[in-house]
Symmetry: C2
Subunit: 503 residues, 2 copies
């Protein structure tokens, strides 16, 4: 990749430093989640805070700032140059538009709020977390003012998490899918298969952790995950992190009594990792490196988790391997395995939700974030709001806040606008799968475990481009149209009508 | 700890940044040695180089430099302040006296030399490594000129590794111990026990890695290693690293056919870690944090490795645990276990050497380093020099350079003056043990496994002080006299006369 624009040429070495700092932060963060001894929490937090400060100063360096601000997208002499300039401006907005004291305050408040949240969650004590959340919302309102927005302060935060995303777009999409999801759920719950599966859930099986790991690694190999350029470890909450283009690590977690935890986490994170491992190496250390957005990233993880890992066709292939590792499991047929991995059941916890109910959890969070940033809801009322929404959306009600409003970490980190990208990922994944399916009928690869062709297609059409195309453009290029939630509903309906013998 | 000196007060926040950078480098380095995926070597090297550059710039920051240089040890209003000023000046010498371009060149050449050494070693090809080593020696000569020295350029490098160490001091000590070691070795080799043990070495035992790990962890617990403030992992070459005062990690390695590798490595590194975990917490993030020198550090690791882990009294205690973990081992008596762990046998490899021959390997390296820096030896002649010295010192001769001049990594890193600190550690450990023994007869703790009192004594007399006292002062304070090699020879003689029934 030749760079013609001279200003851009002078920025790239500075950007490489930013890229290196981000990768080192990834190392510190990975180790914090995977290895950290109990007493080392404060020390590691101090290291991360200091490295973050160095990173902030690097963005605010006068030469860097002046040069980035002097560039216009149109100055780029190629699509790649234009995209680099666009991404530089997008990434720098946070540092250039928001006063430094607010950035520092937000980082400090988030750090305190995270600790307060951990304690509040253990003690089921929302009021102790309330003042921290109030501070975060106040800061996020200020941040929205500095970033600017057309109609809704929430837009500024959505755009931070997914370029171009707006409250209106989310509201339209969610307004479209919510009744259709609810209707599908209701059909499932009325089915005989649903009632029967509720009666005979396996409860006494044990799955040796070593074998869970081996089964996951086997599937990751099939997917094309490069273990020479990554590794799999254990953490409380599974995640993927890029320390280098040749060091994309994933984590998983184990439940001795339920192999689904490890299996779906590994495959999900593996999907994220394939994306990062597959970006054009010419983009290394430039603003085009890495996946383009959280929504597109989530589409890749959800594709492998749901459309491969949980698909009846692939599970048909996997069954012999499953039985080799777990000969004593009470799950003894392909259909049992398939139903077990695709069980639909409204529940309290987002991260454990099935494909049908998952987005209802997100819509609830979207409405609350929007309400809070627009002064239509008050933090003190959140537990009640949460519970009544849960009742309304999913017909379940938390008995305490641990399983309700305190269940997610995101708000304590100061993140508003993150949740909707999970739903976008689900929708993108179905739309992409539909296109893929036209070019490569998935039946063969899934039933044979030969996923190489699928991997190559995703690499060529998505991974390779890294952050070159923004989500809207990418999805249009790949599928020929903009985001269309019909594909997701169609995918779900077809899959679950069959699984639950709906008529 | 109250700081009175105003200049020192202004430096400490800057020093904290240096301390944080060093700790982050420790994280990157630990991960590099323990976890790094095969393809990620270059990326990690780039990250480490960049963070090292930030660290160098922090030292060279004009405010930092001016302030450090303006301070005199006498300005300190307490012993702690004086020591901080002394340590600041000691640590900054490398950055302030040596021109930046030489520092950068040395870092670059070392990085290339390390790769060349790895390749040369695999291919048993010393000539391919020769030009790199020549460059390193040339740079080290220049560095010695910039640092300054009284008589011998080697002094400058010895002082970098152990404050106050000189060529003359090493030569005196080594001249003293070499004939005494050779004589003891010769007595051992003539003994009946030696000849008998050579005949019946266990060769077909297998030691399950999990149990090796558990045995090591058990001994580390006895030693007082805090697993809440550290952890044990695996690496090709065992090491200890401090990422934070509450995050002191050790590594070990396993040989399925020989449990000694894991056991002695774990206990050795555990000794280093106890030192770091035991420093006065008031010294955190100041120039007094961490162990004072490589020699004193090695005394703490060797103390646990040899005077605890390999002592007949402790092995008598350990035998029941050993048999619990390894009931099928052909080692079936305490005396067999003791002899197996203390076997004396001249060999080619320093890291596998027993206590009697170990220092002869060091003396050989000392003579070569001295010869090279003073133009009395040429790099091209090293393989011959090495082999003839081995013949002369240990009566063994390498058949190839892999097991000869290419066996150690140190020179490829650019380190001259490192090896002698290993011997200092051995000598210090015997002198310290002698004093400890007067206050706490070691027989009871070793035979009962109750090592708490020993740990407390070392903590109170050595660990606690961190880098407050320089090695000479520390050893005088603890033992009442300066370094005296007689204690080491006396310790060896007594131990091996008994083990080998010498008369």
């Amino acid at each position: 990749m030749q760079i013609q624009n001279k200003t851009l040429k002078t920025i790239l070495p500075l950007y490489k430093e930013i890229s290196l700092l981000n990768k080192m932060l990834a190392v510190l963060g990975w180790d914090q989640n995977v290895n950290l001894p109990a007493k080392a929490a404060q020390g590691r937090a101090d290291q991360i805070a200091y490295l973050t400060q160095i990173l902030t100063e690097k963005w605010l360096d006068p030469v860097m700032k002046k040069t980035v601000e002097s560039l216009k997208e149109a100055d780029g002499t190629s699509g790649e140059e234009k995209a680099m300039i666009r991404n530089l401006q997008y990434a720098s907005e946070y540092y250039y538009k928001i006063p430094k004291d607010i950035i520092i305050k937000k980082s400090k408040v988030s750090s305190e709020a995270f600790m307060a949240w951990q304690k509040a969650r253990v003690e089921n004590d929302f009021p102790s977390f309330q003042p921290y959340l109030e501070q975060i919302i106040e800061l996020n309102k200020q941040i929205a003012q500095h970033l600017g927005y057309e109609k809704n302060p929430y837009d500024a935060h959505l755009h931070l998490h997914e370029p171009g995303l707006t409250t209106k777009l989310c509201a339209d999409i969610f307004g479209n899918i919510r009744p259709r999801l609810t209707q599908l759920l209701s059909r499932i719950q009325k089915s005989e298969v649903y009632r029967a599966s509720k009666r005979k859930r396996p409860t006494h099986d044990r799955y040796q952790l070593d074998y869970q790991k081996q089964l996951s690694e086997y599937v990751l190999h099939l997917m094309g995950y490069d273990f020479q350029a990554g590794r799999m470890d254990i953490s409380a909450h599974p995640f993927t992190t890029t320390m280098d283009r040749y060091d994309v690590r994933i984590t998983t977690r184990y439940d001795e009594f339920d192999f689904r935890e490890c299996y779906t986490s590994s495959v999900h994170e593996g999907g994220h990792a394939l994306y990062e491992q597959g970006v054009n190496p010419e983009y290394d250390y430039t603003p085009l490196e890495g996946g383009v957005s959280m929504g597109i990233h989530e589409s890749q993880s959800r594709f492998y988790e749901n459309m491969v890992g949980r698909s009846p066709a692939f599970l048909q292939y996997l069954m012999t391997h499953f039985q080799k590792y777990f000969p004593k499991s009470s799950i003894s047929s392909i259909s049992e395995l398939t139903l077990y991995l695709n069980e639909v059941e409204p529940g309290l916890i987002r991260t454990k939700a099935d494909e049908v109910t998952y987005n209802l959890h997100i819509i609830l969070r979207f409405e609350i974030e929007n309400g809070l940033l627009n002064n239509k809801m008050q933090v003190k009322d959140l537990p009640e709001i949460w519970n009544s929404h849960m009742k309304q959306f999913l017909d379940v009600e938390p008995t305490d806040d641990r399983d309700g409003v305190l269940q997610d970490v995101h708000w304590s980190y100061g993140e508003f606008g993150y949740f909707p990208t999970y739903s976008l990922g689900n929708l993108y994944s179905a739309q992409i799968a539909k296109t893929l399916q036209k070019e490569i009928p998935m039946k063969d690869p899934l039933e044979s475990g030969n996923l190489g062709e699928v991997h190559e297609w995703l690499k060529k059409n998505i991974y390779h481009y890294g952050s070159l195309y923004w989500p809207n453009e990418l999805i249009s290029r790949v599928t020929g149209e903009k985001l269309n939630p019909d594909y997701f509903i169609e995918y779900l309906t077809e899959k679950y009508e069959r699984l639950y013998s709906l008529t």
